[in-house]
Point group: C2
Chain length 719, copies 2
């Protein structure tokens, strides 16, 4: 039973129609059309993968939507995004220089694919939705501006006029704005939401720095003190403010204090007070503000996701529902057709298993409550157990039992272990790459194998319960770390492009063996005898993208950032220090604190769940039916025994035994391998009652963190 496409489209923006108010109510018209099934399948697919694309409900749009979602399309999009970003490696100032014509042709190619992707998206969604979405407008504008810049730059180049390729900043926009980068956008939203409050704290901090700078000027200004480098100490208010700002980051402690302290020990009290207030208190306040906002918005986003999922599953149900006695249900045949469409790759027996769970009493239909769980059900991994002996064991027992084969079996059995070895291998390949560039011998390979063996120690560490919580959380963090990777990439890219424009070739690096007289001042007389040159920082420059990224990494670590900033200020202008201060504020105060907040949150969720096991109703049901496997705790051999025992306990387990004799089981992702997001979403979903249809779409999209906070916080959740 289905509404027309027009009704559903309207429903796409308006609240859900009341159940039973559907247009066609005659029970005869029970065959959903192919289009209805396609539409329902699209909703289930979206719910399964937490995608939020407001597609049109016309059959053509849905077919386009399937194409749009195809993995090859997504991979191609990412490939071109990273190709576009990596062009900076080949453009002036280049790591590997290529002619302008080559890079600009590649760039135009990238722009074309981006445009193509946009066109594809426009066919999927309605015109109003397309133009209301700022993401699309952003991409279009970025494409146009980049083309414009390419034309201007190319034309001027023909006339040998040098200009700036300013559109290069815009490249990260493509990474941010394609629908696939939801996580990165969420991180940016987190930053944007935190900005106002961080700004207030920052103003207080600056006010404080100003106060202390004035005091410092009064205290030390006319004492004729000299720094270790021999320059005058605390005489210029701007210099003092910069020095005290650097002291907040602790990078110039205790050097900035020493001249005054050497004069009289009581001056140290001034600096100690300053550090306690600004470094300890204010920096913690930044973390508190960022963390508080992060937490608030994380929970809000998870609520939204969970409600959206529920919303879509209800839509899919309303398309396929048939009246059966007092209630609406989905017939078994329609359900099977739907699952075939959503997940064409799964086997027949797997589908039967899913049906067995959805229609437990084998009534020939799936009720609403069970239907709503379908997306979660499809997300559960299914494994085939080795009940039957391994074919190799039957045919070639000798080879099967050989040491080599046993080794492979072991690798297959100890998956966590395998992960480590893969990680270690990757590290080793990186190391080897470095080595092979310089020198290479077989002794070193043995060394690497030795290190690899050391890494296996992690396995022992993991077997100790205490270490386990920590390691589990660290492993769960990895996927989200990639989000931060994306975020950092975007911010670094923008700062690197600006940095290259500002500081390109101002500082030169001469190799250690160079006899050039400029080797001591990094090829720039302004740096003679500066701390920058004396510390041999010449290679910390903005002469190409790779160097820029490494300098920015050093600035992120904070230590000695004032030396680097000071060096570049010497070769250009004092005002360029603002570039480094801006970088510090954006990366260290915002992004690093969000990263810390994210790790804190991951640990708190892990700690609060340590003793309890949240199982969704599906997991419980699978376990009840004896078809579940908890990935952890049970060694493989015992597992099968366990399963068989469970089956014997089952009363109506005939069909079950048929299934399990085929060796088919659900692998329930153990708590160990869940991310914070997944854990929280699952917690929240387990708290919405199965009957709860959630708020309307508009309400979902407008959910704000303040709606969620209880008016009267309790002792338990207050902190």
């Amino acid at each position: 039973m289905s509404g027309t496409a027009e009704e559903l489209e309207a429903g796409n923006e308006a609240p859900l129609p009341e159940e039973g108010s559907s247009v066609k109510i005659s029970p005869e018209l029970e065959v959903p059309t192919e289009e209805d099934l396609l539409l329902a399948a699209a909703y289930v697919y979206d719910a399964q993968y937490n995608r939020n694309i407001p597609f049109e409900t016309s059959p053509q749009a849905i077919r386009f939507y399937y194409l749009y979602n195809h993995w090859s399309m997504q991979i191609a999009t990412y490939f071109f995004i990273f190709l576009d970003l990596s062009l900076a490696l080949f453009e002036e100032p280049a790591v590997y220089p290529l002619p302008f014509l080559a890079t600009s042709l590649v760039e135009v190619l990238c722009l074309c694919t981006f445009f193509g992707r946009l066109v594809q998206f426009a066919k999927v969604t309605s015109r109003t939705v397309f133009w209301k979405d700022t993401k699309n407008i952003c991409i279009l504008l970025a494409i146009l501006l980049t083309l414009l810049d390419l034309i201007i730059y190319g034309t001027l180049r023909v006339f040998n006029i040098h200009s700036i390729r300013w559109s290069r900043f815009l490249r990260p926009l493509f990474l941010i704005n394609f629908p696939e980068s939801r996580q990165i956008r969420r991180a940016f939203r987190s930053i944007r939401n935190t900005l106002p409050e961080v700004l207030y704290v920052f103003l207080l901090l600056i006010f404080n720095v100003l106060m202390f700078s004035l005091m410092a000027l009064k205290l030390f200004g006319d004492r004729n003190l000299k720094t270790v480098e021999g320059s005058s100490y605390f005489t210029n208010i701007l210099d003092i403010m910069f020095d005290l700002y650097v002291l907040v980051t602790t990078a110039n402690s205790p050097d900035v204090m020493m001249p005054a302290y050497n004069l009289d020990w009581r001056y140290s009290l001034f600096f100690i007070t300053y550090i306690v207030i600004n470094t300890y208190i204010f920096m913690s306040v930044f973390l508190a503000v960022v963390y508080n906002n992060y937490r608030k918005h994380l929970k809000n986003e998870i609520r939204k996701l969970a409600y959206m999922k529920r919303h879509k599953m209800i839509k899919a149900f309303n398309i396929l529902k048939t009246q059966e006695g007092p209630e609406f249900v989905v017939k078994e045949a329609h359900w099977k057709q739907l699952v075939k469409m959503v997940a064409p790759d799964i086997s027949n027996s797997h589908r039967e298993l899913l049906l067995r769970i959805s229609d437990e009493e084998q009534k020939g239909y799936v009720d609403k409550k069970c239907f709503l769980r379908l997306a979660d059900l499809l997300n559960i991994q299914v494994i085939t157990m080795k009940f039957k002996r391994h074919p190799l064991e039957i045919w070639m027992p000798h080879i099967y039992k050989s040491s080599g084969s046993l080794f492979i079996q072991k690798i297959v059995q100890h998956r966590f272990d395998t992960l480590i070895i893969i990680a270690a291998l990757m590290a080793t390949i990186a190391n080897t790459a470095i080595k092979s560039a310089v020198e290479y011998n077989s002794q070193q390979i043995l060394d690497i194998i030795f290190i690899l063996r050391l890494l296996r120690l992690i396995r022992i560490v993991d077997s100790i319960q205490r270490f386990r919580v920590i390691l589990t959380t660290l492993i769960n963090i990895i996927p989200t770390m990639l989000t931060f990777g994306g975020l950092v990439l975007v911010v670094y890219y923008i700062f690197a492009i600006i940095g290259m424009e500002l500081f390109k070739d101002k500082v030169q690096f001469f190799s250690e063996s160079s006899t050039d007289t400029h080797a001591l001042d990094c090829g720039n007389p302004a740096l003679k005898d500066s701390t920058f040159a004396r510390s041999r920082y010449c290679k910390n420059n903005f002469n190409d993208l790779a160097s820029s990224f490494i300098v920015l990494m050093e600035l992120t670590v904070v230590n000695q950032w004032h030396v680097i900033a000071g060096g570049f200020a010497l070769v250009t202008h004092e005002a360029t220090k603002l570039f480094f201060i801006a970088f510090h504020i954006v990366v260290v105060i915002l992004i690093v604190n969000i990263f810390v907040a994210f790790i804190l949150e991951a640990f708190f969720v892990e700690y609060s769940l340590e003793k309890s096991e949240i199982e969704t109703t599906i997991e419980k049901k699978i376990q009840e039916l004896g078809m579940g496997i908890q990935e952890e705790d049970v060694p493989d051999g015992q597992l099968i025994d366990n399963m068989e025992t469970n089956e014997n306990d089952l009363s109506g387990g005939e069909e079950m035994q048929k299934q399990s004799s085929k060796g088919l089981f659900f692998r329930i992702a153990s708590k160990r391998y869940r991310t914070v997001d997944a854990l929280l979403q699952r917690m929240f979903e387990s708290e919405i009652s199965p009957e709860d249809e959630g708020p309307s779409l508009d309400e979902i999209l407008n959910l704000s963190p303040s709606d969620m906070y209880p008016k009267n916080p309790t002792f338990e959740n207050s902190a």
Copy 2:
């Protein structure tokens, strides 16, 4: 009505007797004896001030208990504790040297007072309780050991044999173990509770550092690289481990990377990976572990405090209760006698007000529910409002309205403002003290006044709502900061004493103008051309207590700590680096993280309460009766109008009007001036129902954080 002293003493250890099962039930014996009242008053006093001293219930012990709690006794104890601690300033190596005889005589005097205080305590409590308390045994042992050390050292000194005054480490024990230092002990408990988990993370970190060190040795060991100082680079595994441990703290970034990076840029990947894993992830994990434990134990302690308070109030009630109809109550006369004893300083009218709240319907007795609130009621400040015109205004209108007088009135009215001025004054006095030591002129005083005026800007800042939350929280943090002050004092003191024994006079400071040839190597040839000497760190030494504290502060800030550690390793032995590593672990990883956790918690409590107003039932009742003043929001003039309007609205407000015409009102400490502890305790108390008698004393004392955590965490409180 009262139980005998023996019964009550038993009740002090055993669970409370059932209500009504008291021995004397005949309603005729309604006069509680003077001893009963004293005992009940002691319980109320303890509840009011959150004190937890298990005193004996004999009349003599209670009288001693009153003496023991007298403010003069407490001040004297603190005075002698700090006198004892400050002896290190006058002992070798001294800031202000005094002969050994003088310092040892003062020390013996201190020990005598500590012993006296212990004896006093022993008279208050029972013998078993006294000896079961490890705090008392600690103090006794510390006294004995110190005496022993004094005798040994003195004897050896007579024979001119130099030995170590090892008992000086024990001095902070006195600060920790006297009952008054509850907050500091709680902070230490927090550290102790966190230790096991921090240890596990630390072991993982060390394991990680070891892995990377081995890799670094393989990668860089045989490349003949040199550091900027010209020493060999990454050739010795112990040096590598120290360097990489320092890199975790970021103190030697990017210098430690530069030689390898200058050789080949790909080596930087090794260091970047290392920093991401160890500095960013592991350091955040430390914070997560410390914060999680801090939060868990904080809530547990607050639960304990709240239950203890309830427990004591019930005991007091049981002593004084009389049967009145079906329920037990406390008669008005007894209640008044009790309040007179607990708070002898409050005026008659104030007491009448309290009674009016406790016995709202003027029935002549206070029921149990109202009686239990007495401790909170006594904690509420009472102010006399200026309903009547100021006497000066009546007698000398001219003077009253003079600008000077108006200025004083303004000061009195703007209390927040006054706080700032006092703080500023203190800062100014400190600055002036520094200045007067060096030079002094009237221009500078004007400068100070100028800075003072600048500080008044904070007032404007405060008027902006956004800044207000931040400032409020910062102000609320101040009292607890003192606890951290105590904690840091104890840890610094112990490290300073050890440091002085290890490094005394190994490094000498020569003033800038000195022409001594040793000025360049800090008087120690081992430091010639070292980074330590070149950075002019000679004054960073352990030659006296003040210098030691300043060095330790620099080590707490972390930056350049490896230079300081390296310098002292050069003048003594490589192994002394362990002293600095130990300090880093204790202070930076534990104490600083607890400090950050405390600030985070303060902000989260503040944020979660921002929109809601928790009012205890007492506050509600006071507001209902129109006798409350919220300290904030209402300017003084309006306040009185408000009050009068409220009174007119009161139905049975005759007595009230009598009271308020005397100008007596309750000042309810506004949310702005409450500490995190007070806020949380108040939240928890408002969640225990008035009928809830709480768990038994034994159960209260054994409450553990895991009892409190909900078995099934919800989405709201999960993180």
